[in-house]
């Protein structure tokens, strides 16, 4: 194994998992957006490194897209939206931060056990990449499930998306077309969610998901 190359790829993918944990730890909205920007930067670095060691130059473009859109455009836009809508800036977690972190640890262990068992015989770099990517996806899902604030759920969805990109770059040979379509689907989803948030705000005066539940006739 090319020792140092493997180690740096390992380092970057592991950092992505670490930043996912940092996302779970945040309880202020602006800090959450900053950490999400960091998440996207680490993803970009990881994809760029994969491009270097796999010798796949189209992945550099993927890295640039991730850096531009996910690390700069989207956080800035979300920041503006928060200011404009006057969204509640504290994030309440269901069950407390400690419990969420413990569940996160369990999910990471589960993702690793499953991936390592299911991919016997594959190359070690790809296996490790997939294990980390599955962890990031599960952590993103955990974030969506345990947060009451709609913006933090959107960020959770975005981090889940980052995990999928990591998985795709680990498996060699993902064409650029797929990445463009993926990027555009994110944008469309983002626009849709943004529009819904504006309309929700007009009608219900809050984007706290628990308040939405009240109007569905369910009690929180």
């Amino acid at each position: 194994m090319h020792g140092l190359n493997f180690d740096i790829a390992h380092l970057l993918a592991g950092s992505l998992v670490l930043v996912s944990f940092m996302l779970l730890y945040q309880d202020r909205l602006y800090a959450l957006l900053n950490v999400y920007a960091l998440h996207a930067v680490v993803l970009a670095l990881s994809v760029a490194w994969q491009a270097y060691i796999q010798g796949a130059p189209h992945l550099y473009i993927t890295a640039a897209i991730a850096l531009l859109f996910k690390a700069i455009v989207i956080p800035v836009a979300l920041h503006r939206m928060i200011v404009k809508l006057g969204i509640h800036r504290e994030i309440e977690a269901v069950g407390g931060i400690g419990l969420t972190m413990l569940l996160g640890m369990g999910l990471v262990a589960l993702a690793m056990v499953v991936t390592l068992r299911a991919t016997e015989g594959a190359g070690l770099l790809a296996r490790e990449d997939l294990a980390f990517a599955l962890s990031v996806v599960l952590l993103g899902l955990l974030m969506m499930v345990t947060r009451r604030n709609a913006v933090s759920q959107v960020v959770g969805f975005m981090s889940l998306e980052n995990g999928l990109v990591l998985a795709a770059t680990g498996a060699k040979g993902m064409p650029l077309v797929v990445e463009i379509s993926v990027a555009f689907s994110i944008l469309i989803a983002f626009i849709v969610i943004g529009i819904f948030l504006f309309r929700i705000r007009e009608r219900f005066d809050t984007v706290d998901v628990a308040a939405l539940d009240r109007y569905r006739g369910e009690h929180g």
Partner: protein
């Protein structure tokens, strides 16, 4: 045989001699960063000598245990500090106690310190003891998980073997070791009662943990406890240095030059880490007491993650 014995004895005296100097250096750097002159570097030595010469004032409700505890704490901390490789690995008695034993010896010292806080029967001692055991209840498992990570990577819990493994370069740039380093730094800050966990310079009752437990100590007892605290800081800095900055450390049965290089490298590492500690302490504020468990919880999570991630990496 005699050389290894001499090296071990030299190490025991070296840690005892350097510990107050390290604390003096950290205080001087902090003062300079705050644009003050600061006390001279040898001030901790002067403080110790001054305390040793003073009369002892014991509270009427203090017991024989209160009087014996400073010696116990000093003995446990000194034995632990003597077993951490500083300028040379392969110490003569390194096989008698591995890293788990060193941590347990520090736990023994902390156990008795917490008892000392409760001995006189004041509420300040109680504050210190109860907060100290809360911090310890999270710092110790984090430390043990760090030991697991290192032991699983190096294949042994003996500190000399770990240091040699990490010095040999086989470990490479492993992510788990990076996480373990961050966790170790957090645990070291918590255990040594440094900002952001505890302020070593304050004497405001409600903000202190370590100082609250030793509030009733005076004279030679206080000198021993201060020396033990300084030894503990040196121990943690040496631990970080020998594990994560293993450059220049002398191999076992090395000649005199290698040992001298080891000593110089060690002093350089102490200076560097002391400087970083001072900068770190000056740049952030002390946390509220109940944010400390979250801080230590992060260390525990990082250490646990480091252990789990070891399985994904190269050899395991």
């Amino acid at each position: 045989m005699t050389t290894t014995l001499a090296v071990q004895a030299a190490q025991m005296l070296l840690v005892l001699g350097l510990a107050p100097l390290l604390v003096g250096f950290v205080r001087k750097v902090k003062a300079r960063l705050l644009r003050r002159q600061g006390p001279p570097l040898i001030q901790p030595y002067r403080d110790l000598i001054r305390l040793l010469r003073k009369d002892l004032v014991l509270a009427t409700s203090a017991s024989w245990l209160f009087r014996a505890i400073p010696y116990l704490i000093f003995a446990a901390t000194w034995v632990a500090a003597a077993l951490v490789p500083t300028f040379a690995t392969g110490l003569m008695f390194s096989w008698s106690a591995d890293l788990i034993v060193i941590i347990a010896l520090l736990g023994l010292a902390r156990f008795f310190l917490a008892l000392a806080g409760l001995d006189v029967g004041t509420s300040f001692g109680g504050i210190g003891s109860s907060r100290e055991v809360m911090i310890a209840s999270l710092a110790e498992p984090a430390m043990l998980m760090i030991v697991f990570t290192l032991a699983l990577a190096a294949g042994s819990t003996q500190l000399s073997t770990m240091a040699e493994y990490l010095a040999s370069g086989e470990a490479g740039l492993r992510f788990s070791l990076g996480l373990a380093l961050i966790a170790l730094i957090i645990v070291a800050i918590a255990e040594n009662a440094r900002i952001p966990v505890d302020n070593p310079a304050t004497h405001l009752e409600l903000t202190m943990v370590h100082e609250a437990m030793v509030l009733e100590y005076s004279g030679r007892h206080l000198a021993l406890i201060d020396l033990s605290a300084e030894l503990k800081l040196l121990l943690y800095v040496s631990l970080i240095a020998c594990l994560f900055m293993p450059w220049g450390i002398a191999a076992p049965d090395a000649g005199l030059e290698a040992l001298l290089i080891g000593v110089i490298a060690y002093i350089a590492k102490l200076t560097a880490v002391g400087f970083l500690l001072a900068v770190f302490e000056t740049s952030i504020a002390k946390m509220r007491v109940f944010r400390v468990p979250e801080f230590l919880g992060v260390a525990l999570m990082l250490a646990l993650l480091a252990t789990l991630l070891l399985f994904v990496s190269r050899s395991l």
